[in-house]
Symmetry: none
Subunit: 148 residues, 2 copies
DNA sequence: CCTTCGGTGGGGAATTGTGGGGAAAATTCC
DNA sequence: GGAATTTTCCCCACAATTCCCCACCGAAGG
C-alpha cells in the first residue's frame, strides 16, 4: 500500500484554498472519492485523512468505552475539529476556518505526506517544530527502528 | 540477492538529472519497475531505494503506533523527504529540489552502491565525511562484524 | 573500422499550481 | 416573509514547471 510522502510549499488564496500536491492526489484510492477528512493534528497543524482511512479511524473510536471520561474527552477532541472536504476541479481543498486558526495558517502552507495522512503546516511553525526536536534524526531513527 | 555496489561520479545537468550507473540499473528487479524512492540519508546525502525494497520499508513503518510522538517524528522525518522517481529513457533520474538542497548537490554527484540502496553525494561532502570518521576502517570492521 | 552501449544536453508538449469571475445557497436584516 | 448581503461552490483562463522524447558524442568491444 503506497502511502503519502513528500513535501511542498504552496500558497493559500484569499478564499482559504490550498492545492493538494499532484503526487499525493495520485495516491488516493477510488474509495476515498477525492475526499479528505481534516482535523486538528497532534502538533500545531492540520491532519488530513483520505476518506477510506478516516472511516477506519471512526470504527476504532467506536470501540472505545464512552463511560470512561478520558475516552470521551479524546473522541470529542478529535471530532469537534473534523470536517470533510473534497477536491475541486483544480485539485484544491478549502480549509475550514476553525482549523486555519488552530494551525495559524497564513498565506503559505507547507504540505507534507505522512503515510496514512497528509499534514498542513504554517511553514514557520514547522521550522520551529524541527528546532524543538530534542534528539537529532539519526538518534531518533535508531531508537524507533534500531531494535534487533 | 545481488546488491548495489561500486561507485561512479557523474554530472548533474541544469534540470537536476543524474544518470544511474548501468551496473546498478542492471541489479534492479522487474518488481522495482525502474523506480526508486529517494529520501534523505542519515548523513548529508540522498538515499535511493528500489521500489520493491521501499515498499517493505513502508510496511515496517505502518506497524508503528502513530499515537506515540517519537514514532510520528520519525515517520515525518523520513517521509517528508521521500519521493518516487523513475528512470527516463536514458537511464537517468531527476533529483527533487528539496533533496538537492538537503544534500547540497551541485553540478557533480558521486553515486555509491550500498547493498539495498544507492547513495548520492556531493563529492566534496563525501570526502569530508570520510575524514570525519573517528575510527579507521579496520577498527570499524572489527567492532561491527568481529564478534564471535 | 564499424557497431553498440553508456553518459550528456536540449526542445516541445502535457500537467500542475494560481488567480479570479459568476451562479447558487445560506445568512442576515428590515 | 421577503429582500439584500454574504458566503460557498464550480468553472474558466493563464503561467510556470515538469515530463518525455529526440539527438549527439565518446568509449569500449568485436
Amino acid at each position: 500500500m503506497a502511502g503519502f510522502k513528500g513535501q511542498a510549499e504552496y500558497s493559500v488564496d484569499s478564499k482559504g484554498r490550498v492545492a493538494v500536491p499532484a503526487k499525493m492526489r495520485s495516491v488516493l484510492k477510488p474509495e476515498a472519492k477525492s475526499t479528505f477528512t481534516l482535523t486538528r493534528g497532534f502538533e500545531k497543524c492540520i491532519f488530513g485523512y483520505p476518506q477510506d482511512r478516516w472511516e477506519e479511524m471512526e470504527d476504532d473510536m467506536s470501540t472505545l468505552n464512552t463511560y470512561v471520561t478520558k475516552s470521551r474527552d479524546f473522541i470529542r477532541g478529535i471530532l469537534m475539529w473534523a470536517e470533510e472536504v473534497s477536491l475541486d476541479g483544480q485539485g484544491r481543498i478549502g480549509l475550514p476556518k476553525p482549523l486555519i486558526e488552530f494551525a495559524d495558517i497564513k498565506d503559505r502552507a507547507l504540505i507534507i505526506g505522512a503515510l496514512d495522512h497528509i499534514e498542513i503546516w504554517n511553514p514557520e511553525h514547522f521550522e520551529a517544530y524541527l528546532k524543538s526536536q530534542e534528539v537529532d534524526y539519526q538518534t531518533l531513527a535508531e531508537s524507533v527502528m534500531g531494535r534487533e
